[in-house]
Amino acid sequence: MIKSFTRRLALVAGGAALTLGGAGLTQIGKAYAQGEVKNGGRLKGVLRFTGEAPAEDAVSISKDSHICGVGEVNPNPLTIGADGALKDGVVALRKVASGKPWPVAMTQPKVDQKRCLFEPFVQVAQKGADLTIVNHDPLLHNIHTYEQIGRARRTLFNIAQPMAGQTDVAPLKMRRGFVVEIDCDAHNWMSAWIYTADHPYVAATGADGLFDLTDVPAGDHELVMWHPILGEVTREITLAAGETLDLSLDMKA
């Protein structure tokens, strides 16, 4: 019962902070401070997949073929381009207390549902941001978001969108996790992911596997590589003031 005892204390303290600050327990901790970055560095390079590709998952399209089509879909594909370039990967720093201002795009994540697929498959966003969800299909989708915490997942919200043109905006009220899993219970092959961070030094890779993080505060950083089916890999880096690091990063199955 010791754990619940300390949690009890934290909760009571959290309640005090909550009522004082107007933010939930989930938001407690130092917030990211935006400002000008003087003499920052740059982290750029390419993310690659090396090694043997894991077996493909295939889910057959079992319903609503008039909109969703026919055949099989891999809900979580591993897309590898020229020279091993890894698409849909994420390169991020783990902790940054202060740095450049948030780009608007990261504060306004959005997911579209078209022909029974989510777009985009992987994106990055500010932790705790509001997610906009649009259904373009004339049939029921239910947008079901989960926060991943270790191997567990917890529903963040689950909203039915039975009609085309429906738009909802809902907050990603996360706790200590970073990864948001999105699925549609009505169509079990639909899958999308949002990698969130409490600072803007995070990027998702396109088909060329390239990433480019600018105005990074100099110093020691923990670098995180993530992919929906490859999981997470971290490594330490040191960035000097004004330095550009050109990195070749590898992920394996």
Partner: protein, 258 residues
Amino acid sequence: MKLASLLFAGLALIFAALVQVALTKHAAAQYISPDPQAFAYGQELYARECSACHGAEGEGDGPGAKYLSQRPRNLTLGVFKIRSTPTGEFPTAQDLFDSITHGLAGSNGAQMPGFASLSEADRWALVEVVRTFAWMDQEGTAVEVPRRPETANLELGRQVYERLQCAACHGDEGHGDGASSLTLKDDDRRRIFAASLVSGSYKGGDAPEEIWTRFYTGLDGSPMPSYAGRASHDELWALTEYLLTLRAEAGASQEEKQ
């Protein structure tokens, strides 16, 4: 443990005072004021009545867990099915009290027993323990259930059932056998089926207002989504009346058979 409790009580008092000051400044903030005594007592009750399924620390891993097809909730994740509050929000303390009183029994299995035999004070003490496991620093805000109209428009209800595509999971006749029901998973990634809307009990109660609230707010932790704002109040009440007749008719034909 004695020393810890004393220390805890002292600290809690200080914090409670802080909260009190803060509360008077921000009347809008919802916070259930902590009651250290009820909490200590609740912990004993929890260890006796609940930990066999939910585990000593509320993580859903008690020794009895493996005998159940639906996992005893990992209470630390703070996700609850039976809520009068919008999807993604914490339940109210009353919601938790009701779940502990009645248990959760539905067509997916009757695996969370009810504890109506415990005194009311005991059940409130358990609410406090659950709230703590769940890191619940706020109560959710209950949605307002509009008044039930005097007349039931069953034809409209059937149309709304179709338009909102409940059948995708629950099936055309409500037997829980829609095309999507075959591929549903809950938060624990375990198989789950859409509830039968025809027979068996409902996890959140059978009263018309309770049924209305279930599809309006969804059952977080399961695939059952929230339909808040997806039809007018009249239409959602017509849908509720339709669901009530599905069960009443099934009940009637069952009686005929006997």
